[in-house]
């Protein structure tokens, strides 16, 4: 635990809910309310995982995921895409921009937490061989 999670969400109420939920699950959180500051924070603050809303004003979740996932420096950070729609198009978008998971916002909190835990474990497992070579 103690992993740092960046949340990018423009809806203040939902941001608050995510913040409380993640903190109570033992994570450290940093919050961004729009795409641009979210992207800047993702690059500067070295979060262990990014949760982003798909529909954001300006730079949207799709773009954020692409900018991170197609950049060698940041592609190891797991990205979870949140959306309020469960349209097949959205799932397709998430796949295209290489997000690691695509979750509808009304999904049970426990399921979201399970996904976070799994992605963090995967990321750590991938990081191990690198440390061994040092």
């Amino acid at each position: 635990m103690g992993n740092k999670i960046l949340v990018i969400e423009d809806n203040a109420a939902f941001r608050k809910i995510l913040n409380i939920r993640l903190k109570s699950a033992g994570y450290e959180t940093i919050m961004a309310e729009d795409g641009l500051s979210g992207l800047t924070m993702a690059r500067k603050e070295a979060p262990d995982l990014v949760i982003t809303d798909l529909m954001l004003p300006g730079i949207d979740g799709h773009k954020i995921s692409r900018m991170l996932k197609f950049d060698q420096r940041y592609q190891h950070i797991p990205v979870i895409m949140l959306t309020s729609r469960d349209l097949e198009e959205d799932a397709e978008i998430a796949k295209q921009c290489r997000a690691d998971a695509f979750i509808v916002k009304t999904t049970k909190a426990q399921i979201i937490l399970d996904v976070i835990e799994r992605l963090l474990a995967q990321a750590q497992a991938r990081a191990v061989p690198l440390e061994l070579t040092e």
């Binding site: 109420a13 939902f14 939920r21 529909m55 309020s84 729609r85 097949e88 009304t106 909190a109």
Partner: protein
């Protein structure tokens, strides 16, 4: 398109003979028509290009440079909007000319020398037809607009309605989980009810959206090789808890350990979910629900049988209608949306299956649905030449497809609807119903609309004809003779895309 009333009073004439032209003009002007007279086809064609050109034209067949039939051909090839109604002028006794003119796209004809009364009557018919055409086009445009609006609304509603729901659910869940402090029993109780209702509303919205997608023919079925045995075991496990809560004995009856099928597993899961939720709702405590799959010769018979309250005969035919909830059972378990069975029906039919129910009041209800027994994608080959069908089958033999064959258009449509193949390889030139006819019919049918089609023909393909049937973007065209590798590649690419 706003057409002024006087617009219907305007007529274009093309006639190279001075006397005849004058007679036409006088006869029509006398009746209050606004006449634009030209003396050649080229001149008439030019005048008809104008935005506010008359929609009624009387064209002489025989003219130097460009004759009347040529003007008609050009007009129809360009598919100008609004529609131009054309009366062809021919000399008496030239029956073949009349036939040819009508074939080329003329709407009516008049023989010279003409009777002014007949001329007027025919022009009046033209006026009515033009009015009808314009009304129809207005309505078509309006319908297209509305359809686009509906799709946009659905996508927006989906987002706008769920965002506040997500916030509500998130907040209430936090409280219930004690993250925001301890709750007393009454608080916990009230918030639990709230959460249950938020979930119900979420389901309602999801069902409504699913329903409208099915109605609009926008559901995409993504088929894969899947196992019904694995699927039903998963579903059986998922519903175990809800069944136990109601002390219902939930049984699984499979006819084999492995039941391979080529279907959309998410959609199949949804069908079972809806049927079982329904059964749970209408089965009293201590009852029994059995889900299972039987095998018939070429299809699976899936069923969900309950020992519930049953359905009266007079309610049977309303069973799959929207928003119909027949009978209510008091007690735990969530409320239905009244759409579950309608959605199940839509999804089963999209797979080419059938769904129905049998019931006895007080004894219980059994829902059945069929699914074609097939573990690989099927390809329908349509060609009136049997040898060509065999060649294509041979080409595709390396692709592990289930091959269906049709030797004429009519048969092709029937098989396509019954079997919903993963794709169709289609010949264009066939007696009676040809390739275009097949495409037109398949595109009009919700069940077959989404089947990709590859045209395999030595004939030149007419893109306009395809466009008419909204088929222009889905049909790659290949010309005979084709190389086996190329055909296989195209077929597998299209099936993958699905």
């Amino acid at each position: 398109m706003a057409v002024k009333q006087d617009a219907y009073k305007r007529v274009l004439i093309a006639e190279d003979d001075n006397i005849s032209r004058k007679l036409l003009k006088t006869a029509l002007t006398k009746r209050g028509f606004d006449v634009l007279a030209t003396s050649d086809g080229a001149e008439a064609w030019e005048a008809l290009q104008h935005e506010d050109a008359p929609q009624l034209a009387i064209l002489d067949w025989m003219m130097p440079e460009m004759d009347g039939v040529e003007v008609i051909r050009q007009l129809r090839a360009k598919k100008t909007k609004p529609y131009t109604y054309v009366v062809l002028l021919t000399a008496k006794g030239h029956q073949d000319d009349i036939a040819m003119g009508l074939e080329a796209g003329a709407d009516d004809y008049l023989t010279k020398p003409f009777n002014p009364k007949e001329l007027h009557a025919r022009v009046r018919v033209g006026q009515r037809m033009v009015q009808l055409h314009n009304t129809l086009e207005d309505h078509m445009a309006r319908l297209k607009e509305l359809d686009a609006l509906k799709s946009e609304f659905l996508s927006m509603a989906s987002h706008e309605l769920r965002t506040p729901l997500a916030v509500m659910k998130g907040g209430v869940s936090l409280c219930l989980d004690g993250v925001a402090g301890d709750l007393n029993e009454t608080q916990h109780d009230l918030l639990s009810d709230t959460l249950e209702n938020i979930d119900h509303l979420t389901r309602l919205i999801t069902d409504l959206l699913d329903m409208s997608k099915i109605e609009a023919g926008k559901v995409s079925i993504i088929r894969n090789t899947m196992d019904l045995a694995v699927l039903t075991q998963k579903i059986h496990a998922a519903f175990q808890l809800s069944a136990e809560e109601k002390q219902i004995d939930l049984q699984l009856a499979l006819s084999a350990d492995s039941l391979p099928v080529y279907a959309d597993s998410d959609k199949m899961m949804q069908v079972f979910n809806n049927l079982i939720s329904n059964a749970l709702r209408f089965t009293p405590e201590g009852g029994r629900i059995q889900i299972g799959v039987d095998q018939k010769e070429d299809e699976y018979l899936c069923f969900v049988a309950d020992s519930g309250i049953g359905i009266s005969e007079k309610n049977m035919n309303k069973l799959f209608s929207k928003f119909v909830q027949i009978g209510r059972v008091e007690g735990p378990g969530y409320k239905g949306t009244g759409l579950g069975l309608t959605i199940a029906k839509g999804l089963v039919e999209k797979h080419g299956g059938k769904i129905w129910a049998t019931s006895k009041e007080g004894k219980g209800t059994t829902f059945y649905f069929t699914l074609k027994k097939r573990s690989r994608p099927s390809v329908l080959i349509v060609d009136d030449e049997k040898s060509m069908v065999d060649v294509v089958e041979k080409f595709l033999s390396r692709g592990n497809y289930h091959i269906l064959k049709a030797f004429d258009g009519e048969q092709a449509c029937k098989i396509a609807e019954a079997e919903v193949p993963a794709m169709i390889v289609l010949d264009l030139i066939m007696p009676e119903l040809d390739g275009y006819g097949v495409i037109e019919r398949l595109k009009k049918n919700d069940t077959t609309r989404d089947i990709p089609i590859v045209i395999l023909s030595s004939a030149q393909v007419d893109p306009l004809k395809l466009e008419q049937d909204d088929a222009s973007d889905v049909i790659p065209v290949m010309k005979k003779p084709v190389r086996p590798a190329e055909l296989l590649e195209n077929v597998s690419a299209l099936i993958q895309e699905k």
